[in-house]
Symmetry: C2
Subunit: 260 residues, 2 copies
């Protein structure tokens, strides 16, 4: 690989996203958290390399957290930190780290003030949301107050998307990004099968650019979006030039951007 | 556990879903395949116990397929079986099973006829889609013809949702379901924190029913949906009766069904 882009030389920083919850595996809930997290992490130079959806079963959470926290730079989890009996993520993460879990004075004070203000009872169930694993630090939740937490390289967030969004905003400054993944895309009304060989040749000439081919269908209208990704801006431009040239040679006009 | 429901005595059949594709991990594409697969499998008594999103990297696909096909009764994959260079799922699955991959005469004939009919060239790239691992059997694709395949307990499907849907329809009859997971749900305009303790007690009295609590928010409107799942219809009804009674005692009216 060679290149003069600014991404060169920076290290690759990776993340794994764990979506915790029976409701996603049963099909009840369509996850929308993964794509949001991936977009946000991408922007600060962190690549999501894997995601897993796992059930609300302690042994599964413990084993998975321990496997992926050793494998990736960061692990972000969503789901299972509410007040009910099926919210077992915090306890499971504590167990994964081999530490105890208990009420955190700051989190207790925060939630106590919140429920005093809103007129809700600060029930034992709600107090569960102020429990943190030993050594964990809070992730602020400006929306509904009950915090997420960080322990080691694992960041535990709520599953409700709008709560997850504010927690992610709260924690992003704690993450150290690496080389930013840049992307370019071109779309044309032509089938994948027609461009596949030329596109494969282009990929083989641009090893430092990842070239993806994504067909789309709109009733009778169809075509292909080519998405090019690289940490090297110069390499990316060279690949994009070749892809544009390929479309031109095939006599189809390509537009910047993608269709899904 | 005890119960008189018809699910009792049938074995539990499990599945893992692998969503293969860089585009899901980059946030470009929001997956909608998992919830569809989970719903369809649920209906025939197969429980999705885990899902993973992994990149278009051969070593990752090989390792993951081998791990999960040993762990679950069935593995269903989506993505990576098109004509372009980034479609590497078929080769990776062949490698996972330690078998060769090559053109399948039936698949070749099928695609040749399809392109003859539609006037497209049956290019070498498109011919790649007629390659099957040794010992695999085709999964029919009535929509765009290029088949998926089954090898052992692994079912390989396209990633484009409408193509995946018809492939899933084609393969469902090959799966042997176990006990059907039944569900009931009740929704009320009350916060999780208020019902958490009573709900936890209900869960502890109904070990053969999995009770999930899912808050929802609509601007200022909020509430909680309680989803109960069990293979035992009688146990499910008993739990639902207790949950309904809990809401009644709290003075809130509950409606059948869920909100998300």
């Amino acid at each position: 690989m060679s290149g003069s882009g600014e991404g060169q030389g920076k290290k690759t920083v990776t993340a794994c996203v764990l979506l915790i919850g029976d409701e996603i595996l049963s099909g009840r809930t369509k996850d929308s958290n993964l794509s949001h997290i991936a977009h946000q992490l991408n922007q600060i130079g962190i690549q999501v390399r894997e995601a897993r959806v796992i059930p609300d079963i302690e042994a599964e959470i413990v084993a998975t957290v321990n496997e992926v926290r050793a494998k990736y730079d960061y692990v972000l989890t969503t789901g299972g930190i509410g007040p009910t009996h099926d919210d077992i993520t915090a306890d499971a993460v504590a167990k994964a780290f081999g530490v105890s879990i208990g009420p955190d004075p700051d989190a207790m004070a925060l939630l106590q003030a919140h429920y005093a203000e809103t007129g809700g009872d600060f029930t034992p169930a709600r107090q569960r949301m102020a429990r943190l694993p030993q050594g964990a630090s809070m992730i602020a939740n400006p929306l509904s107050k009950a915090p997420g937490f960080q322990i080691g390289n694992v960041f535990v967030m709520a599953g409700v998307p709008m709560v997850m969004h504010v927690m992610l905003d709260s924690l992003l400054s704690r993450l150290e990004g690496g080389a930013s993944m840049l992307s370019r895309s071109l779309t044309a009304s032509i089938g994948e099968g027609t461009i596949a060989e030329k596109l494969g040749e282009i990929q083989s000439r641009h090893a430092d650019v990842s070239i993806g081919s994504y067909p789309y269908y709109r009733g009778r209208e169809f075509g292909t979006s080519i998405v090019m990704r690289s940490v090297d801006s110069s390499a990316l431009e060279r690949a994009a030039t070749d892809v544009a040239q390929m479309f031109a040679q095939l006599g189809v006009s390509a537009v910047e951007g993608e269709k899904t």
